[in-house]
């Protein structure tokens, strides 16, 4: 049975392969994440008690910025070399490659962020009870962040200086995710059941998976080729 070149896993594999060939570039958002998180104590205070208060928020803001940084080029290289046009005229559903791309993006951004977060938690004196909630929240939340950033990436793909515009467009959409993401950690620190906000993050991710690829496909079809 010949292996299909057009399934979800094929697209994910291909994008991961492409990312692997540019692995220096791809690693930078994670390094950014870790570096800037270490700057915060330098800028505010090294006192554990104050850092503890701020840690959930800082971690989420950093995750958000790192995702935005790495999302800019999501569709750009395909647009420039003509692969995007080939995707548009393919008989298969456009949502499949989009889905594959965003998943690959998450694997190269959100997943490493989630795995690197205990390190940040350590540096920001996050109470140990919050580590698991933090990782669970980040795992789900960064998925949402990737999907929403992809909408922005699709809208700005044909623009020259798209990066700041991407941030401007996507930032308001990120607010609910930060709110619930840091609430997961906050609840665990305050001793409350953190499964509530986590479930809401899960719901947001489900909605993002269902709706974002449609929006992205519409944007790519309507706007990119001119």
């Amino acid at each position: 049975m010949p292996e299909s070149n057009r399934g979800f896993s094929a697209y994910v594999k291909r994008d991961l392969l492409l990312a692997y060939r540019r692995r220096g570039e791809v690693a930078s958002p994670i390094i950014f994440f870790v570096m800037v998180a270490t700057l915060i104590p330098l800028g505010i205070t090294p006192e554990a008690d104050s850092l503890k208060e701020l840690a959930p928020g800082i971690i989420w803001v950093m995750a958000l910025l790192a995702t935005l940084l790495s999302a800019e080029g999501l569709f750009v290289s395909d647009y420039k070399d003509g692969s995007l046009e080939q995707l548009l005229i393919s008989p298969n559903l456009l949502v499949m490659p989009i889905f594959g791309k965003v998943t690959a993006h998450w694997i190269t951004t959100g997943l490493p962020l989630t795995l690197a977060s205990p390190l940040i938690g350590l540096m920001l004196s996050l109470p140990s009870v919050a580590y698991l909630p933090m990782m669970a929240g980040l795992a789900l939340g960064t998925g949402c962040l990737s999907f929403l950033a992809a909408i922005g990436a699709a809208l700005t793909v044909s623009l020259q200086k798209g990066s700041l515009l991407l941030t401007l467009i996507v930032m308001p959409l990120y607010m609910p995710i930060i709110i619930f993401g840091s609430a997961v950690m906050q609840y665990s620190i305050d001793g409350m059941a953190w499964s509530g906000p986590l479930a809401i993050l899960g719901a947001m991710l489900t909605a993002a998976i269902a709706l974002c690829p449609l929006a992205i496909a519409a944007v790519l079809r309507l706007i990119t080729i001119n």
């Binding site: 292996e3 070399d81 548009l88 005229i89 393919s90 298969n92």
Partner: protein, 214 residues
């Protein structure tokens, strides 16, 4: 049974920012035919090809594939077309073989890909990342798609651009072989084609005025 052409275009119109680019274009493409789209620069040749491959939406008119409106047979139509444009659609960090095995929806055995590369004169280059190839070599990798595709209709946008004599010959041979086997080719080019029995369709942009008359 009415003999329906492979592709029929009726009164196609396209506007960009309220400026008409294509006005009431009508043409047909039949099996075994090569159709050359002529026109000065900027007359909308690439745009026409893009509309026919559905990358762009027309502002009016209809396109029929084997007698059916495109919207009703999208999957069939798109499964049977090949588009080769100005851009090579090659991922430069991937090797020639990785790029070519991607172009068909079923993973090709490396034998057929290596054969194809051999026939475009790139024997032994299958494992080299495309960014290490010269521009001419990258172009040849892109052209190798012609050997691997089983699409019925080929849309070629300036296929002879930046090719040497050998390259031009190769493309011409591919086209002849394709149409002899029942396929069809629609291409845009400035250069005169040294082939017989090529039909021509002229696109003179009405808002630009008459063609340049030297």
């Amino acid at each position: 049974m009415v003999n329906s052409s492979l592709l029929t275009v009726n009164d196609l119109r396209f506007e960009r920012d309220d400026i008409p680019v294509i006005n009431d274009a009508c043409l047909t493409l039949n099996d075994g035919e090569i159709l050359q789209i002529e026109g000065p620069n900027g007359s909308g040749k690439t745009t026409l090809l893009r509309i026919l491959t559905t990358a762009l939406q027309p502002s009016g008119g209809e396109i029929l594939y084997q007698g059916q409106i495109l919207s009703e047979c999208r999957f069939d139509y798109l499964s049977n077309i090949l588009f080769l444009g100005h851009q090579s659609a090659l991922k430069l960090t991937l090797t020639a073989e990785e790029n070519l095995s991607w172009t068909t929806s079923v993973l090709l055995g490396s034998v057929s890909v290596v054969n194809a590369l051999e026939r475009v004169g790139l024997r032994g280059y299958s494992d080299i990342p495309c960014h290490s190839l010269s521009a001419g070599q990258q172009r040849r990798v892109a052209l190798a798609r012609l050997l691997l595709s089983n699409a019925k209709i080929w849309f070629l946008d300036e296929p002879f651009a930046a090719l040497d004599g050998q390259g031009v010959q190769f493309v011409e041979q591919c086209m002849v072989r394709h149409v002899t086997g029942g396929g069809a080719v629609m291409l845009t080019t400035h250069q005169p084609i040294g082939m017989e029995s090529v039909r021509r369709y002229s696109l003179i942009n009405s808002s630009v005025g008459e063609a340049l008359d030297a």
